[in-house]
């Protein structure tokens, strides 16, 4: 849909300079933009490339100096750009109507405007909220409850009894509600510990491609509203993740871990069983948190085992200076012992 700079400016609450009727139909990078694409610039470093861009409209920081452009000024151009994109661009549809090849149990109940792609399978007692789109080959196990406006890309698997709120996005190949990994060893074999808990996913959660999230063993796995989870992430049984936490790719969260609100995990972070990560903590990429530890609110940790970032960096520094330390030690030994030096 084409909008004008003025309409966008009103939507975002920005100041407008230049042509209020400049048309807008997309968003782009400085290099790839057409005249009708919106671009943004949030630092003087990128002013020149914004100036050179074919785009006529620019979301820009307060002091940006741009000639011949229609400029929408704001303190947070990147945030405004994301909001502009959500407003300008309808996300591509995943399905249209109920495809004739979809297999839908007679006891499934759909809200208004639900779409189901080809070859999807919807089992008994599934409830799907209004406007939710289900991609090809999705499998919704019995008793799943999905809120309004969810988007399931192709090949998503929901084990039975998954519950999710509104506006949840599940990317291709995600597996939600699988059996937790729990066994008790005895009599020469591993006995499967019961995995009879459930899983609840809050509003506006997004889950990446091929990510796997297990349901609880006896209690529930709970992913709160606004959590964003990248591709190939593993979340074990009984994990609880607080609102708006963000987990980057290939992170692994072990059983019964509790993450607070607004926690950030970099890529390939590993958290062992029964860890508590308090609100707003940041775990650097590849950090490893050992069993039962607590990461304090707001703390940034790095490394394996995870330790405060400042200490991690300090220790890395010491590690690098060990040869010099050893050299100084040798020198002292020589001085004291008259040449009788050990290796």
């Amino acid at each position: 849909m084409t909008r004008t700079a003025e309409e966008l400016s009103r939507h975002l609450g920005t100041e407008l300079e230049g042509d209020p009727r400049a048309p807008l139909c997309g968003v782009a990078s400085h290099e790839s933009a057409t005249p009708e694409d919106l671009i943004y610039v949030d630092s003087p470093r990128f002013e020149e490339s914004a100036q050179r861009s074919a785009a006529r409209c620019v979301l820009a920081f307060a002091e940006a100096n741009l000639r011949g452009k229609t400029v929408l000024r704001t303190a947070k151009p990147k945030l405004a750009f994301a909001k502009a994109a959500a407003w300008l661009l309808e996300p591509a549809r995943i399905a249209e109507g109920i495809h004739s090849t979809a297999i839908v149990a007679s006891t499934a109940r759909f809200g208004v405007g639900v779409s189901i792609g080809p070859y999807a399978v919807i089992e008994e007692d599934v409830e799907i909220g209004a406007g939710t789109q289900i991609g090809a080959f999705c499998f919704l196990g019995r008793g799943a409850i999905l809120g309004d406006g969810c988007r399931l890309f192709p090949h998503v698997t929901l084990y039975p009894a998954v519950r999710m709120g509104r506006g949840v996005i599940l990317h291709a190949g995600a597996v939600i509600g699988g059996d937790g990994f729990g066994y008790v060893y005895g009599e020469g074999r591993h006995w499967k510990f019961p995995q009879v808990g459930k899983i609840e996913i809050g509003d506006d959660v997004e889950i990446g491609s091929n990510t796997a999230i297990d349901r609880g063993s006896l209690d529930n796995t709970v992913i709160a509203a606004g959590v964003k989870i990248d591709n190939l992430v593993q979340i074990a049984h009984n994990v609880r993740i607080g609102e708006n936490s963000v987990l980057a790719g290939q992170t692994g969260i072990s059983g019964s871990v509790s993450l607070g609100r607004g926690v950030v995990c970099g890529g390939q972070v590993g958290i062992a069983d029964h860890v508590t990560v308090e609100d707003g903590a940041i775990l650097g990429a590849q950090a490893g948190v050992f069993m039962g530890k607590t990461i304090r609110a707001g703390q940034t940790v790095m490394g394996h085992p995870a330790r405060p970032a400042a200490r991690f960096k300090e220790q890395q520094g010491w590690l690098a200076r060990l040869p010099q330390l050893a050299e100084r030690l040798k020198k002292l030994e020589r001085a004291m012992m008259g040449g009788e030096v050990k290796e």
Copy 2:
């Protein structure tokens, strides 16, 4: 199915106190239990919550003090609980009968009571043992042989010629028997090394969601009986894993690695090519074993590179004390050299 406390006690061989006719129809945590759910308590720490639970029946350690409950006493309550769950609860069915949309090659052969879900594809010469359940969208490549009582959740892919024993569980999105990752570089490109080996999976193996296990290149990949593999694990060509080994989530095993029996890998462990891990060794989460190394039987290793756990902890301790060591060195230098101190 509802059972009585007495029936369960007889099945488990436990001592029974209280009402032998107390009905049981499920298992639960202390908090979520209904009166007819079984709970367990294996430590005085949890006695109070067990006492408060709505559950009437408790599997408890010998000295547990519980009032007004029907108590089944045993030395290993958690093991007994797992066995009780297996006895009380029929696992949810993955498929019922042969769905009309399943595509089954005319040369496929099925045992008694095989179930195939919607849109599954079974290629030529596949053999499926009695009572095995195949979920929706599963793909069984030609020549696959599955034992009795296997359970394949939706979206499992078996490349051609996979062989597996009885009671194997494959979770959603698992890919078994893919091409190994092997190339020979020459003449400016990577030539694919032949991947013509097979893969054999023993009885009672369980494999997690979206895990990938490649078949052998010239010989076979072999996963022995009782092995348990979590989600998103990668197992390369020609790997051999001994009986009852356990691999936690996101572990990666490189080509031609040999794991003994009862090996335990924590989450995100990485094992490079041609490593040997002997029986009963334990690899801590995120441990990295370098190419060609051997981990001795029963040893616990941690870190990158993996080293004995005691040494890992000792080294971490030294790393933390480096600033003090350096301070002491500086002090000595000052004392010896009369103030002429280096940084």
Copy 3:
């Protein structure tokens, strides 16, 4: 197809000794070979097992001493073996013809000899090159363009507008072109940063099972020709990977990373945002490259944070010798201070 030793020798340009008419119909390891399988030996270490093998034909290094065998001599037996396998063995077909259950949009265009497996879904405006094979349950989103001779195993998902060259192999469960993981936090929630870029995959790329590669956010993700990617790898938005680079299993590449040509990543490598890895660099397994760093051409790095391999090993050595260093320091202190020793 059966060939003769002479035909193979001519194809490879090797020297032939022994029976030129020896028949060849496969490749194998020394142990598993039948008389009509080809084996190779590239080191005196394996001469004896080659001699014992049932195989009649051996690709061997120049000085290999083998009695009673038909020997094809070459300086690079393993390379010749890979080439021989490619020549002798037709890869197993993934699909035959267009299966009647495939759903193909009317605007899709196919080259000669395209095959589509059961239950595949091909959306509008997809173009598929000659001889390309699409497995069961593959989903090709609208506007995908595939070159000639590609092979997509079952359960591959292509989001809309994926472009790939000739001879690309995508293994089961791979997800190509998903949304990048980008958000802007503001007003108490994460706003999705627009993910409107594309993805381009060059000729002869191979991508492993359950690997996920996101399309660009504003610009494109680009995987150049000849790149080989293993299972469960994560590649984020806007990544650029140069020709013939190789990424082992579970490696994760963050947003806007640039890899040169011929880069090698071991298993579980993690590369943070905006890193540059120059041509021919080698990243050891589990290495972690921090945000914004550059790895120089041809350099080998290891560890977390990634550092030159020699320095990594040296530092590991120092770490191991810290107890001795501390002991020497204590001895000096004792000597100087007359017994007044600190811990």
